[in-house]
Each structure stands twice: as C-alpha cells, then as structure tokens.
Symmetry: D3
Subunit: 146 residues, 6 copies
C-alpha cells in the first residue's frame, strides 16, 4: 500500500459568526475572524489516497482522474468564493478549516472510491495553521497492524 | 548603504469590479475575481528600507521601529479586512495588488522617513503572483550610479 | 476527531557535549555541533492537538488558548535563549531536537489537556532535519482502530 | 520512541512507458510523461527512522551514519541519473514515484536496520505531488497501540 | 511604474556536453551534469513585466494575457521535454539555465511587448541555484534615474 | 550579462551588545537579542555574481569554483560558529546581518573577481528578515543604463 498526495491551491473568503451567541461572545471567541465583512485566505489542500500500485501503470491512482475529482469537488465549489454566502452548507455551519475539511471529506471520499481509498485530508489556512482529518473510522474497520 | 527587508503576513478579502464597465466586460476582464461575493488571500508584504548602518547598533533601522510602523500602517488597516468595504480608498479604486502597493507606499514612505528611506515594496498575493514598487522617482532624484 | 496544527518559529543556540565522554569521542560523535562556543538555529515547532469539533465554534481548540499555551511553555522558556545555559533541564541533558521535543511534550501535554489532547510534536531544526514525537503511549491507551 | 527525518534533494530524469500497451494507450494513461525523450524533476526524499533516544548522545541515530546510508543508497544510484537507462531496476519497472519509493525502501530498510528502524519514506516529485510508504507490514508485526 | 511577476513551474531534462571539448574536459567542467543519459529538474520561472497601472482595471497587464503568452512560449516548448533533443536551439547550445533564460527572453520580450515591457526573467533550476536576466540594454535606452 | 545566484545554508549563534552603552540602553535597543548567553539562526546566504556567458560552457561562472569560494570564505569561517567569540572581526563589531553581509562582501568580492564580478549578497536571518548589499559603488563605476 502506497499513499499518494496531491496538493492544490485555492482561495476563498469567510467570516466566523455564530448567530446564537451574543456579539460580545462572538468577538471574544472569534476575534478578528468575526469582523463584519469577512476576510480570506490562500488555502492549500492535500488530498491523500491509498491503494495498491497498479503494475501496468506504476500508479496508485492516475493523476488525471484525481485532478478531475479535485477540480469538480473542490475548485468548482469553493475556489474564489465567499464560503458563507456561496456555499449553502456554510450558511448554517461556521466555515472554519475544521468544518471545511469534514465537509470536503464527505464528497471526496465517495468520488475517489471508484479509483482508490481516501486516506487523509490536510487543509492549510495559512503557513502557520492546518487541520488534518482521516474520516470517522469505525472500530472494526481496520486490522490491528498498520 | 544596506537594504533591510521585513516580511509580514496578513489576510484580506477583495473583489474586482469596475462599475463603469458592463457586467460582461467585468467578467471578461476579471474572470473569477469578479464573482459577486468576493474571495481572499494570504498576502505577504516585503518592506525594504535603505540606509547607512549605524555603527552603534549595527542596524539600518531598528526592527522595533519598523515593526511598529508596519503594524500601524498595514496590519491595523487591512489585516482580516474586506478591502472593498473596510478601506475607504478601495471603495472607488479596484483593490488589485498593484493598487494596494501604491496605496501602501504613500503611507509607509512617510512613516519610515523618520528612520530610513523606503526603497521597495513587494506584495505577494499568492505563491504564483507578486508586484513590486519603488515609488515614482523623479529624474533628478538619484545619482547616476546605483 | 480532527487534528489542528499550529506552527511557531523560535530561535536558540546550543552545543552538543557529553562530559562523560572524552574530547575525541565528543568530536567524533557530534562533529561541528561539538565546537566549543556553540551555534544556533531557527526552529519551527508544529504542535498538533486532537479533539472533537465544537459545534458552537467549529473549532477543535480555540487558537487564542493554544497560542497562549505555546507562548508560555515554548517561547518564554527557549526563544532567543542559549539552551545549555538558560534552560536548567539542558544543563545535564544534551539539547538535541530529540531531547527538546520530549521535554516540551511533558509540559505542553498537561497545559493543553484542559482544552484538547496533544497528539504530536514535530520540531524542525533546519530545512533538512526534523523530529516527531507522539508521547509514550501505553499499550492499552487506544482502541484498536485508528 | 522518537522519529527522526532527514530530507535530501536529488535530481533525475525519467519517462513513463509500458511496452505491453499500445502507443495510444500509453499516451492516454501517461500524457506528457510519455513524451519520447523524457523529462526530469528535483526530487525531495524524506527518510524517517524510529528508535529510542540514546541517553549518551541524545539521538535516535547519528546523522553522520544516516547521511552515509542515504548517500550510498540514494545519491550514488540515482542523483543526476536517467532512471530508465541508468538504473537496471527501472529498465522493466515504470519509474513512477510509487515504484521509486518501494525500490528505495527495500535497500534503505536493510542498511538502516543496523542503527534504527526505517519508519517511513516520503518522496516529493514536485511541490504538488508526493508519495508516502511505510513498507509492507505483517498483521502481527506491531502491538495494537501505536 | 509597477512590476508584476508571474511564477510558473515546468519540468525538463537536459545534459551538459560540449562536443568540441574532450571527454575528460567535459567531465572536469560539467561533473555529474555530463553523465551520458542526462537528468532533469523542476524549474520555476519568474516572468516580470513593467508598466503603468491601467486605471480601468488596476492592472499592469491582465494575467489572462500574461498566462497565455507564458503558456505558448514556455510551456508548449519546454515543459516535460528533453531540452537537448526536443528543442532545436539546444541541439547546438548547452542548455544551462543561463542559456535557457537568454533564449526565453528573445521570445517572451516580443510577445509581451503588445501589453507591457518585459523587465526581468529569473529561472530557478533547483532551490539552491537561479539565474537572472534583464536583456541586453543599450546605454541610451533608459533615463538616468531608476 | 547574466546574474547567477547560489544559495547556501549555514547556522551560527550571536549576541547583540554594545559595551559603550548602558545595560538599560542595550536592552532597550536590542531587546531579546541582548540576552546574556546569545541565541542563533539558520542563515541563508544568496551570493549573486555577474558576467558574460562563456560560449564554451554556457555558464557565467563554474559552480564548482563558486562553491569552493563560498566554502572557504563563508562555511569555514562561520558555519556552526559563535560569531562574537569565534570570529575576530565580531569581537568589536556587533554581528547583525547588516555587519555580517558587509564583512562577507569584502572577502567574497576579491575571491570571486578571478572568475566573475560579485553583484549582490542577500542574507536571510530568518524567514521574516533579510538584508541586501551591493558593495559601495563609486559614482563613476557604472555606465548610466543598467
């Protein structure tokens, strides 16, 4: 089993605000990320897939296929977008990196399953902060040794 | 004469739209940057100052002073902001990197002049694009040799 | 469960020398790192915490809290310091990246436990070398699947 | 147990072509990587070893030893080489990053075993693509907790 | 006047060999770069153009136009290519970074002239080596002050 | 004329202290850099040389020669050193990046002159700070156009 990771760059804007909390609480919890008109980032997403190496191609998954999935799921939906406004899911979910990566997992895992297994997503919000997600594994899903 | 460069990171959102042009023209010229609700970036700004090295400190300009100027001029005004909405100058000027860097020059040059000479600004909008500005020099401003 | 990683930069100096070994052995084992007056590095520390995403904030752990812990534990103790001289622990322990990361784990794990679980520390000594530590896990600590 | 990672840079050229497939299939699967005269990359290889920290040295493995192994196994064989032509293994195996990393594992694991345990190889083919390999573990090889 | 820089990535293989020199001389001068079957790199090219900022767009040059020129001149000719074999110019000219950048200048300057002025090319062969070229300026080409 | 830049990494420790100033003044001016036992950095030095491209080699200067000069002048003298203690020049000169780069220029310019012309030194003290030096040019040294 080999892991293959593709890194893609996209940019987006967002704002952190929980309408069920007071303005003071929002400001205390989210700081500058709660400023009223939002801000943005250059995100870097690392999509890691797992699989056997195909002897005919030497590849875990053809990059042409992986790039197509990433383009459809990631770029079309969120590149150059305002996450809170342009992506229905984030109308009611705060668009933190944690929530973005969980939301992307749900869509990418299914699309990639045709070719390989989605192993891990890492989302860099800036050079000093990233989140990592491996899906919600059931206790019986994997054999003991890794 | 030695040049000293400080790199600072900030993030902001923006949208490119010229109200004097038709929607079709805006879309043709600005592409995804014209999407209605904006997007954002992690910017990296390189502020380069020029001066003699002070024999008492070994420095062109004390970083404490330079950081204070950069904080007041750059960070307070545009970090975590929506440039089009939060910065009056960009209500009527398209917030491209070119226009941001010219606008920053006007303010930084004056604040830094107390300590050294602003030599150059480089603004990275993402890892694949940057702009560079050295102010508008008059023909007689500098001696021939550089 | 999502992992959240904060990267912080600090600088410090150190020297590798084991007083129980001969000078020749020290030189053979540590090479340039044994030079008598020490040298230094820009370190990058990646602090990774693990936890459930709080539905009210969309976060594993508030960055304000994480930054406060990192400032108190890491920056106050070792930034701009001479590790051998300024940090009592390294008076008798060789300040290799391996030993630094184990020492930091002991303090960070406890401070972070109030908010989330410390999952991993990665310490980059330079762009070509890093160490990674996940603490000393007991055999019964984790369920089988990861 | 601490992990220690060394990053090394090398450059090489290669071409993807499976002689058992038609030219059209080769072109469809490998795209530009099938162009007849090959191309090349600056590779970055991360070699991660695992072990207890030696109290006498503060190290998992002496970098002098690790660098010697990496020089002999990696640099001597493939730096500045044409993988398809200069490395016998890739005369009949397509030199994808997946296959390179599996081939390197076989040789590095044995050489490093004298000092520590090879834990992981990460091979970056360019800034947007990498593969990761941890060897083929037997189900009974490791205890449950990691 | 503002400078705008676009960074593009491409990969290629090459070999350094001067047929007018003996094999021994070739080996002494070019070292590993003279190995018979060549090697390769991930190149990063920085294309810097200079111009007035258009008040209607806020841009020195539209990135759509710049990207089209770079695609036609750079990517189509040398990405994923063997420079010595696939590019006629390098059949008789050694494909060093110096010669690549001079050759690219000749073609890019003309194509960009329709929109702005080519100011500078920087070509990174690897993270430790780059060349920079500003064309061959005539003494009378520019006013004294810069 | 083409510029060729070599980037080299070294590490060193230093302390900023001017014995002619009071302790309070030293602390005010140098802050953490005045802490009594010093600290250190991973420096990156960019050495840029200028020259005509030799038609026989395609090079401005052979990297073997440039690397030898850099090894002798830079690495032997300051890599893994304590600048204040190990380098006589910095016993009486504060080892700021500004002063380091001026001191290196004096030695590198002469050694490189045999092969090409030293054009520029850039010294990065950390990822957020660098200095740049082009020597002290006499007014009549260069023709008007650059």
């Amino acid at each position: 089993m080999v892991l293959l990771t593709r890194k893609v760059h996209f940019c987006a804007s967002h704002r952190y605000h929980n309408p069920e909390l007071s303005d003071a609480e929002n400001k205390r919890i989210f700081g500058k990320c709660n400023l009223p008109h939002g801000h943005g980032h250059n995100y870097v997403l690392e999509v890691t897939v797992r699989g056997e190496v195909d002897p005919a191609t030497g590849m875990v998954m053809n990059l042409t296929d992986l790039d197509k999935v990433v383009k459809n799921v990631v770029m079309e939906q969120i590149d150059h977008k305002n996450l809170n406004v342009d992506v229905p899911h984030f109308a009611t979910t705060i668009p933190t990196s944690e929530n973005i990566v969980i939301w992307l997992w749900g869509q990418l895992a299914e699309e990639i399953a045709e070719f390989a297994t989605l192993q891990r997503l890492v989302l860099h919000e800036d050079p000093f902060l990233c989140v990592e997600y491996e899906g919600e594994k059931e206790l019986s899903e994997e054999p003991v040794a890794r």
